[in-house]
Assembly symmetry: C2
Homo-oligomer: 285 residues x 2
Amino acid sequence: MNKNETPTILDGTALAAELRQRVQERAEALASTGTVPTLATILVGDDPASATYVRMKANACRKAAMASRIVRLDAQTTTEELLACIAQLNRDPQVHGILLQHPVPPQIDERRAFDAIAPLKDVDGVTTLGFGQTAFGFARYPSCTPAAIMALLEHYRIDLRGRHAVVIGRSPILGKPAAMLLLERNATVTVCHSHTSELERHVGMADIVVAAVGRPRFVQGSWIKPGAAVLDAGYNPGNVGDVDYAACAARAGAITPVPGGVGPVTIAKLLEHTVAAAEAQVAET
Amino acid sequence: MNKNETPTILDGTALAAELRQRVQERAEALASTGTVPTLATILVGDDPASATYVRMKANACRKAAMASRIVRLDAQTTTEELLACIAQLNRDPQVHGILLQHPVPPQIDERRAFDAIAPLKDVDGVTTLGFGQTAFGFARYPSCTPAAIMALLEHYRIDLRGRHAVVIGRSPILGKPAAMLLLERNATVTVCHSHTSELERHVGMADIVVAAVGRPRFVQGSWIKPGAAVLDAGYNPGNVGDVDYAACAARAGAITPVPGGVGPVTIAKLLEHTVAAAEAQVAET
């Protein structure tokens, strides 16, 4: 990648529209055989941002000829109660995908809850098994945000083979699976995190930077190698990403805006996984 | 780490002896209650190196008051036949750990075979689920070679937090789990492989180098940052590691010899996992 005057804008809104179009066609084909692909979203507690995300996902389902069901559980829900809810959705033949909105209240064992989701309905790739499958290159449904990052890189034909990718963040549903997907595509991958010393030096070597920190405008323009691709998976209050956009855009060869970058593609991937799950479940019966 | 005149030799023979002593005590305690911890090793085909490894593991079991059973299958074995063999060992209450000797002949679907091993008996951490658990920091039994690398680093009190570790290799039972274990211990981790460009530059930045390439004397002394810890997980014909030992030792702050480094600790970890599996299976009944 060479540095041009203006970077390529990795337009997630446009890519998401394309992906959603294909999803809608598949959803309509399924609906014509009597199955409406359905996503169940579980929202525990009343975090306003989470409520907004859940609503956005439900709206996106509706627009793509799919159905959604929102299960609201109060903030005092126990792990056992949540597990019972997940078990019921696992058994429900009219639910094809299950998404547990993250984060859950602190009294809940989130890992146990994630791992209770049936693998065939784990459309956000949150189970431990699903992560292993992602790492080994054969996941049905990798986590949606890492999948969105890969879709953007592929759509804009950003070369990964042998290139150096630096992922900032190591969460089980974002940093780690993103690293594994980049590695499967033959990038050399470095995972940085809160304990990393010399973060700037690592980022400064990267051909591809994935910011998954959850801290507003954390990645500074001065860190970016001229011409690098910068993918911002952050979404902080006030529509602000994890990347200082203006400063990074001045050096990057390609960059995702926030909003309109990784976010809309993530939702499109969720729909795509849900339709695929519905197709697979129909084929099985 | 500062460069001294001579590096610390990370003595795997000594550490393995210590670990085996504790394993033997646990095995004897179990035996006194009527359960002899038993490892079943499956050897498919007649690769002489594999046959040697399997024999070494069986001998190590015997010396630690454990039992071993070697299942030999001929080189024409099909995946289905191997799966049937694994299923039988899964059901056998007198078998506590199952190890499928790697590599298997090309007609076998190795991933399917690995994933057929019951999680409670997967003492070499080869299942996809086991890898996910390793990556998330709660594996019962991570792969033995990465576990051995971590045991050596811990035993010799080599600081990992915030340090830069470079893993060369990305196999499902060595490079990838080693990377994940280092990440769990708060190292910044880079995974390099056959497509990596500028390998020397990456290795030259590392405080900790893990060589898991499977190519004799691949890692050159000139690549090593003075004072770095070098862990050689390779074991090539003629007792040669993946590291050019003499040249790397001249720069490293700490280094594993081959033989006598990672190898013996790997076998000790296998025994430790098998005893732990036996304890867990006894507790369950």
